[in-house]
Amino acid sequence: MGSKMNDTKKTVSKKGSSRTDAWVMLLAVVGVAVLLNALLTQTSLRIDLTDQQVHTLSGASKKAANDLDGVVITAYISKKLPETIPLPNGDKMPLKGIERAFRDKLEEYVAASGGKVKLVYADNGSPGVGTVEEQAEAAKLETFSSKEYQVAGEELKFAHYAMGATFHYKTVHEVFGKALQPGYYEFEITKILLRLQEKYAAAQIQKEPLSQGKAVFDAVKACNDLIQKKGKVDEGAKDDGGGLSLKTGADPSQKRVDAMLAAKDDIAKVCGDVKLKIAAATSLKGKSQFGDQLLDAAGQFDQVIGELGDVLSGKAEQFKDKPKQLAAVMGQAMGMLADLTKEVDRSHTNLSDSPGRKVVGFLCGNGEFCPFAESEPFVQEQMAMMVAQNNPMMKQIVQAATQIAQGIDETNGRIGDNLFTKRGYSIRRVDADSPIPSEISSLIIYAPRTALSEYTRYQLDQFLLSGRPVVMLAQEWDVALMNMAPGDELGNDMRMDYTALSATGSNLQDVLKNYGVELKRDLTLDTKHVQTVRVMKLVQKGGLQFQSQQDFPYALIPVATHFDQSHPLSKSLDNLALPYATSVEPSAQLAQDKRFEVAKIIQSSESSLSHAAPLPVLPPAVQEVALQAKPNGPLTLALYVRGPFKSAFAGKEPPARPDKKTAEDPMHPKEKPSENAQELAKRSFKGEGVGKLLVVASNLGIEGLDRGQVLKGFDLSKMAQFSAEIIKDYQLWNANFQNWQIRIGQVSHLLGGNLQFLTNILDWSTSHEALVEIRSKGDTRRPMQQVDDGQAKRLRLVTLLGGPLLLIGAGLLRWRLRRARNLALKV
């Protein structure tokens, strides 16, 4: 009995011990798993299986990190990011996992640099430095809002967040202002590292102008700070030794006057420095646009200081015994000084940022895509008033035309800002019939629709021979598909069905012939590889009329399928739609010349064909033509040529600069070209030089919006006398402006990919070939062929039912085999 009880006790004890062992073992396994996972958070061992290694640092990025010893990255990441942030179009951008992605990418660079790049994170912890968001704002990062309210003290305000970094290298620094697109992290960071390298090298050469610029800025800032402090009138503010307090109930105007008068000697001493620094900035004058802007703003600041000094020293007689007026003048001067200080600050930032920055020039003046607002007003005010005096109705038309011109300017300005400036490109307008500024690193001639003058061609020729890249995008055809057109003579409403094909007035074909490039001036059609065109049409339903949108496969929008895999511009392309493309080929002589590198970087498919005008424009009709013709593709749609070009002006007199004085601008005649200009041009003429030329046979669907093209025939002198023609002209201007929007809308679904290609061109043209490849990593989208409804239904059905049928079929087969086997066993 006792032995049995002992056995039972032993069994119970053994069971208890097994249970304890099991729990201990289980906890140990959990502990090891947690530890292992925690340790691995510090590593980044991974395999990137994607085709182009889109999630792995490229060789160029690793090299950029390795080439700079001593870069310090300060990351500003808000502790608590929102789930989403609103986008301008009303959608929401999810931010889930973005913090981890940004940290991972920065740490990848640190690892790739072998210790040369240091990474620190801005922290909320340290006293006196403010929150991460405040630190980020001080470091000039772009903070963003989630549009969620936050309670701060007694008020509600939008919460602000930071996600970005600053990069310091020796004396220069760059800012990654808002890091919200993980797909482009590598592109942005590598661009910054390359920029730091160039900037530092250039800053070494420009030490003197940079230090003089800084001295001017410091002097302006010190003076403004002193004046704002002395003249500050703030009811709630405490007197902090020089500032004002209104707690005494004294008249604030009088207080300001008294305080400023008391400090006049200090102000004279501190602000006198501004004039001295401006005078000393000799190496800043006339060297760069930013230096000139800085000096200009500082000069204006100094002028206001002079006027304020006169008031303070009693030289301004008109304010004697008029303290209120005096105070008002002082207040006005303080406001102007604060504004001018901001201007000086901005110019100084641009100046210190300018060393090594590559500037891309866009030629404007021949109906090109020109992403800039015009600097001159459309109509001189005095002229408009003269017209209005004679005829009030004409006044209205002039005003309407001016509004269209303003609309054009605003649109172009916004395009330039959003497509280029905000993406970190320095772009500059290059006026046709003007010399090309020396700071331009590469020149884009984007789809001119009128002929380039001899003078412009000469400038272009010399620019190409100087070795700087020239990019030409051709728009040889004007395709109007369901466009607006003025109504009939009776003044009926606009038509919406204007459809026509016409040649533009471009002379790129002649220009390019000189360099061995043949622009065909044909039309490239395709029967299989095409994109759709989006057409708006009016639909009548019952008594109602409304607009409907429909996509048609369009033979005039061929999709290129052949890409040169060795060229940085095309190696990452998969497909590209080139609306209304012509074709381009090297001449036989150029193709055989071994000194030239000639690459057909983009070509259409085998099913494409070259067709001469005339051609119908409506999608079904042009499809019919394409199907009946014999394909002769692939056709070259983009050609790259590099080699020792000969000048097209060898043995000729350099053309004189045309006089641009126009009838509608008699009040502001253009500056006459110098008489020595011709002689100087002869002396600096280059007969031969190694150049880089890229020709794209389409405008990529982006048409220029140009005052001259839209307001065709506008002439103020005609306006003075009323005629029915002017009303017709006015309708045409309106139609032209709306047609630009219609045409862009018709190919808007292609613009994403095409703009990507355009930014690749900009990267390539500013010599950052490595960036071209990296940028394309950000766009991981793989386009799919156009699938019609019937095909989509079939594919859906096969995919949805194919799998289950396969599985059930295999089950039935297995069941039959088993049954057969069982029957055989029974037998």
């Binding site: 991974r46 994607t50 999630h55 608590k80 989208r781 949805l800």
Partner: protein, 243 residues
């Protein structure tokens, strides 16, 4: 190892001998297919988006796996417990760990076959575009890992009870919890969950695979969950000796 493979073969044969494998597999394929083409609310249109990608499959397949796999694993041990065959099984010269591994491997066979049938999706896409094959392979590696973790969790719940329905429901809850750990449940407790808890989510760990990146951290995470569930299942099976 041989014992594990023998058990796995037996389990796999039992799975495919029963209609549940074909029903579960077909439901998985149809539901995932519908989600792939039309999205969860029917508003999406795969062909209208005109992108040759398998991302929608990798977005929705874990959801359906989280529901389907517990239905496959519910019977693994619970059925044997109820029918009394477990006692027979443990008399064989195999350890409890080998039994658990064998059953898990058998269920993995079902997962592999079902995922293999989904190859019809990339094949269909390849007829109308050029999907990134690397990203497709990465996504499938992730699905295999996440699926194995779901199977291990389902197996664990199957060792807790005689009742298959209870095993299925608890397994389903566990899988859905791990899949949406941060997105749904933790949101109730936190305004924004701490990073450590975010990392607990299968969804967070799966994101890199869906992009075509096989990260050691994600692989180790899924293997850790599987290992912990296997060890817990083994001790759960052993617990019959403790009563």
């Amino acid at each position: 190892m041989n014992a594990v493979l023998t058990l796995a073969r037996r389990e796999m044969a039992a799975t495919f001998d029963s209609p549940i494998a074909y029903i579960a597999g077909s439901v998985f394929l149809v539901v995932t297919g519908l989600l792939f083409f039309f999205g969860y609310d029917g508003s999406a249109d795969f062909f209208a988006a005109r992108e040759a990608t398998l991302r929608p499959l990798f977005e929705y397949a874990p959801w359906t796996l989280a529901v389907i796999l517990p239905a496959v694993t519910m019977r693994l041990v619970a059925e044997e417990k109820k029918s009394g065959t477990l006692e027979l099984l443990v008399t064989l010269p195999v350890s409890d760990l080998q039994i658990v591994l064998g059953k898990l491997l058998g269920a993995f066979g079902f997962l592999a076959v079902t995922l293999a049938v989904t190859a019809i999706f990339p094949i269909m896409i390849a007829t109308v575009g050029h999907p990134d094959l690397g990203a497709v392979i990465g996504g499938y590696v992730g699905l295999l890992l996440i699926g194995t973790a779901f199977l291990a969790l389902g197996l664990l719940t199957s060792t807790w009870t005689h009742n298959q329905i209870i095993a299925f429901i608890v397994g389903l809850l566990l899988c859905v919890f791990f899949w949406t750990a941060t997105d749904a449940l933790l949101k109730l407790a936190f305004d924004r969950p701490p990073l450590a808890l975010e990392l607990l989510s299968f969804r967070t760990q799966f994101e890199a695979f869906a992009k075509g990146v096989v990260d050691i951290r994600n692989v180790v995470y899924f293997l850790s969950v599987t290992a912990v569930a296997v060890v817990a299942s083994t001790y759960s099976l052993q617990s019959r000796h403790w009563k």
